[in-house]
Amino acid sequence: MTDILQIENLNIHFRTAEGSLSAVHDLSFSVKKGETVCVVGESGCGKSISALSIMGLLPENGHIAQGKILFEGTDLLSLKPDQMRKMRGNKISMVFQEPMTALNPVFTIGYQLREPLRIHQGFSKKQAHVKGIELLKQVGLSLPEQRMKQYPHELSGGMRQRVMIAMALACHPQILIADEPTTALDVTIQAQILDLINDMKEQLGTSVVMITHDMGVVAETADRVVVMYAGEIVEEGDVETVFNDPQHPYTKGLLASVPKVEGELTQLQAIPGSLPNLGEAIVGCRFQSRCPFAMDICRSQAPPIYEENGHQTRCWMKEGESIADNIVPS
């Protein structure tokens, strides 16, 4: 399988009233064709803006300070705005978290669904309409003809999210970026949507970048996992490896914090403290202030990435496996 998307050393900065803030540091990962990569991490760790920078849709005050985003070998960052626009919704699509606000309230579902088809495929209004109905059927909406004439507010959250997915998939993109597509939805609806994305992916061979903070969603959908903490990747690997043998203390903490629905009831192991502020200058590992294993080196020097069978970890404890073996979480 080939890498369809490669992100290399991506650094994202924001200009703010307090000065320039670095929100994402040296982010690198890649996505293979047909693969689902999940990006997890706590709120504010930089998942969304990383995704937006792939789309070329960073907020006005944000910019990519450094790095490359290679899509099929071409650097998206070098594209002209109009070339980039033609990629969006066509080769790369995105589904956003909030189904309630992500649709334009004053246009019909039909209008919004036809739009990408007309822009990228040059469909006539009629053709786009027919295709739109077909798409709505595909995402499992009842009465698709009628839905085309309805406005977003007349649909429930789950239905809207399905419309968003239909819109994103309209032009058979190679990559679908889904930014917390189910966070705002109920579990039963969430299950429907996740199944839908999975089905679509299988049918169309699309690669999926799924952003979430729900470890359950990751476990159910991902092939590979990228764990982010405070603007950095701290761990990356196959979903099984990461879940069964987490290496980074943060990943471990995260997994231990999730209350389980089945199996034995155990005391939750919370990670103390909270995510550092963006502007905070941190010397050493960004996780050190919350890390139960923090060592002196962690406080003075940022850890490098250690790789082991495609499983990457950014932690000093990997420096000579021996140390890691000796320290067992409490």
Binding site: L57, R85, R88, M164
Partner: protein, 313 residues
Amino acid sequence: MSALIIRRFIQMIFLLIGISFIVFISMHLAPGDPASIIGGPTATKADILGIRQRLGLDQPILVQYWNYLVGLLHGDFGVSFQTQRSVAAELFTRLPNTINLAIASVIVSVIIGIPAGIISALKQNSWLDVFSTTLSLGGISIPNFWLGAMLILVFAVHFQWLPVGGLDAPFWTLQGFKEMILPAITLGTGSAAMIARMGRSSMLEIIHSDFVRTARAKGVKERVVIWVHCLRNAMIPVITVIGLNFGFLLGGTIITEQVFAINGIGRLMIESIGSRDFPMVQGAVLLVAAIFVFVNLVVDIVYALIDPRINYD
């Protein structure tokens, strides 16, 4: 929608009765006697008594109001104390001028205000934004009558491009168009500025909303994003301002009509108050209030057309 219209209509009737009562009572209680004004300083006591009887002012005030109200409910606005013409006829001679003026200035304000608002939102914090903001705030800051007088001096007296005042020709003729320009600008500047500022802030809000990001994510052209996806949403609060402004414009016409010698409701109102022409004041106020309510009804309907989320039932 029809429920809205019917409800508003019922509300309007009560509103108008309320207003008529307030105006009636306050006019009657206010010092100043219509008879002594008609009589003028030369009138003797007997003269004035005669006039009072002729006008029916010798009856108890509530009886007068009742008679007025009964007439009103039969569609009779009464007869002017001063000119002895039917109030309705007098009002409808002037109404077109005022309406034309108000509409022209709404057009002026929209033509200036909306692009200015959009441009300064798109180029937020640029010099263009500062310039447009300064200009629009300047527009709000100039007293109406002063602006009018200045415009007359420059464009009518100095360059003689446009007539000084008066609305004589029908508005669809060239002459009529020329006559309308200065008053419409005078009256429209203030609300143009308000629209520009409202447009700017609502555009800014919309530009940063999720669905605009969605549109961009679909690959929609920037131009279409702005003019199709943003504008319609941004118009919703702007329309409120236009609607409310229409009310203020109706008030503002008083000064504009004065300065530009336009025979409109505003001027009629001020004349009639001056001469304590009660039926005329009543009629004019009721008419203006009714127009205001009507315009706001239209605004509500336009809302519903622009924003499908709004449902009045």
